[in-house]
């Protein structure tokens, strides 16, 4: 009965777990209810997309980038297209810049609302989950109206966009914006003045400004810790340079910045309102003209094939900086392509956030950075202490065997 065997003890959570929306492997060293140390292993979803991209031409890659993430389909495609456009010296028409901005902001609206619902669910507030997700549907309808799809929009193309926004669509967009602006006060009230949410989120999952800088965090996670960073303000691309966007920091609304889960809720909800304003301004100031620099794909490919050089495409995705680096050397496929999704920069911040918290806080703290890890390709199984990896083929074989057994 040795005491030292009892503490610290290890709790594994993952690679898939009901508390996690996407697969990642956590190992917690616990001391009673308190988390002493955290380790995590991503890569449960690695699909080798960069490897695939280095064997395809830019027009094919655009459809691959749409599928890197199910939520931010615009951000990756936009960042990649901007990089290729810079290498090839393609000038994007102004109207296309505005359409890109509008769809990027709708993506932010639906992503933040989706996240708000997940956060409510993690806290056990399921009626609020259903309310926010019902509200979110209207933005999905607008996205479907603008692009033809709810996800994988396929709107952005190298050199511009593939669909115009016509005057008849302005009314549908305006309807959605005014609904959201009317609802925002109610949502803020429900999230920020609810006693339970405040108790669960205030001073939980703290990330100091210093840690946020040193661990390279981006987007709402960094802003909630008081780091004044927003690409739409700092490094304006597309139409953002014309619009005067300013980063939303929690102290503007609450008078102070603590860098906890609560602040992350504040930043994201206020950004929904900000996005509505940006879309409205874009609609009223949208210049007329072409929507793409080169509508003929064969000609576009010929231009890309001659391009030589390297470039960076950066976009403020809903979760923060989305970064694409492309090298082209006069061949059909890029020589090098590096994708840095926004969550790539945010995962390290889990470690200081989770240290010292309780087991029950794990889901909301993990969800508070809005991690995006995408779909799985293999499964790890722990059986009697030894760990083995089951591939899709193994699982398929097991499944077939079970069917056969049942048929006997």
């Amino acid at each position: 009965m040795s005491e030292e065997k009892k503490s610290p003890y290890i709790i594994p959570i993952g690679p898939t777990h009901p508390a996690l929306k996407e697969p990642v492997m956590f190992t917690f060293r616990m001391d009673g209810e308190v988390i002493r140390d955290v380790d995590f292993a991503p890569g449960q979803t690695h699909r080798g997309i960069e490897w695939m991209g280095m064997r395809r031409n830019p027009v094919q890659i655009v459809h691959l980038t749409d599928r890197i993430c199910g939520i931010c389909g615009v951000s990756h495609t936009l960042a990649f297209s901007r990089a290729v456009e810079q290498v090839a010296g393609i000038e994007v028409p102004e109207r296309a810049d505005y359409i890109r901005t509008i769809i990027a902001e709708f993506e932010r609206i639906q992503s933040h609302l989706l996240w708000a619902g997940v956060a409510a669910h993690e806290l056990g507030f399921d009626s609020l989950l259903h309310l926010t997700w019902r509200v979110r549907e209207q933005s999905m309808d607008v996205i479907e109206n603008l692009t033809g799809n709810r996800v994988n929009y396929a709107l952005v193309q190298v050199g511009g966009v593939r669909r115009d926004i016509v005057p008849e669509q302005h009314r549908i967009i305006e309807d959605c914006l005014s609904t959201y602006e009317g609802l925002l006060g109610k949502l803020l009230d429900l999230f920020l003045h609810d006693k339970t949410i405040a108790m669960r989120c205030r001073n939980v999952g703290l990330l100091s400004k210093d840690d946020a800088l040193k661990l390279c965090t981006v987007g709402p996670t960094a802003r909630a810790s008081g780091v004044n960073v927003d690409l739409r303000q700092d490094y304006p691309y597309c139409a953002y340079g014309d619009l005067d966007v300013r980063a939303i920091l929690p102290d503007q609304h609450l008078g102070e910045t603590r860098g906890d889960v609560y602040d992350r809720i504040v930043v994201r909800l206020l950004e929904v309102g900000q996005s509505c304003g940006i879309v409205r301004q874009c609609l009223s100031e949208m210049p007329s003209g072409e929507i793409t620099a080169e509508p003929k794909l064969a000609k576009l490919l010929a231009i890309c094939k001659k391009a030589r050089g390297e470039a960076i495409g950066r976009v403020e995705a809903p979760r923060g900086e989305c970064f694409h680096y492309v090298v082209m050397e006069g061949k059909e496929a890029p020589t090098a392509w590096k994708v840095k999704a926004s969550s790539y920069s945010n995962l390290m911040s889990w470690i200081p956030m989770l240290r010292g918290e309780q087991i029950a806080d794990i889901p909301i703290v993990v969800a508070s950075i809005d991690p995006c890890l995408s779909c799985t390709d293999r499964v790890a199984v722990v059986r009697s202490g030894s760990r083995s990896i089951l591939t899709k083929d193994d699982l398929h074989r097991l499944s077939v065997e079970k069917t056969r057994r049942l048929q006997q």
Partner: protein
């Protein structure tokens, strides 16, 4: 840490003066988008790996940078690593990227860690170790990051030489390489149209 915003040319000048011959090349590119055509600047600095940490420290003195990621290119004889930073965020319209590029000959694929200065860089350094086969010396955590535990040693997916992914490791090869006995969709060699001379695209970085 000063809060003064320098112009891209001034940043370049700091590195030229401080490191002399160890900085082999500095390029500044710009991009203008939207109706007002406000510029974004990107600074590309080619350096020797011996001054990687001093260069990052110099950047920290200018403005504590946001570290984005390390990109890597297999250039045949060498592996080129590009460390992407941004400075002057928080100042509307003034942020610029600073990319330090180091060339590592394949005979000696080692690079010092920068995690002493930027702790968050470990994540990207771990990724470069497993995907490009470079060795990051003094890395505080050298475990694998994204690749599965049973991935073979000595195979590096982003390399373009013998250490890259062998065909045998790629499932359903036809998905990544088209069959040779049918036309290549969507735009094969024959379908590409020749550009008239005056429409030839301008070189990199112009706007």
């Amino acid at each position: 840490m000063t809060e003064k915003v320098l112009s891209p040319e001034q940043v370049a000048q700091v590195f030229r003066e401080k490191f002399g011959a160890a900085v082999t090349d500095i390029r500044i590119t710009e991009r203008r988008e939207g109706a007002k055509k406000k510029p974004n600047f990107n600074i590309w600095i080619d350096i020797d790996r011996s001054i990687l940490n001093p260069a990052v420290a110099t950047l920290i003195d200018i403005h504590f940078p946001h570290f984005s990621v390390i990109s890597g290119v297999d250039t045949g004889e060498a592996v080129r690593l590009i460390y992407h930073f941004t400075v002057f965020y928080g100042h509307p319209g003034s942020e610029c990227t600073v990319s330090f590029s180091v060339n590592l000959p394949k005979k000696d694929l080692t690079v010092p860690t920068i995690s002493g200065l930027i702790p968050g860089a470990v994540f990207s350094e771990r990724e470069k170790q497993e995907f490009l086969g470079v060795r990051v010396t003094d890395i505080p955590d050298g475990r694998r990051l994204f690749l599965p535990e049973d991935f073979p040693e000595g195979v590096y997916p982003w390399r373009k030489d013998d250490t890259g992914l062998p065909d045998g490791m790629i499932k359903e090869l036809w998905r990544s390489r088209r069959p040779t006995d049918r036309p290549v969709p969507p735009a094969g060699e024959k379908e590409l149209c020749e550009l008239p001379a005056e429409e030839a695209p301008p070189k990199e970085g112009s706007s």
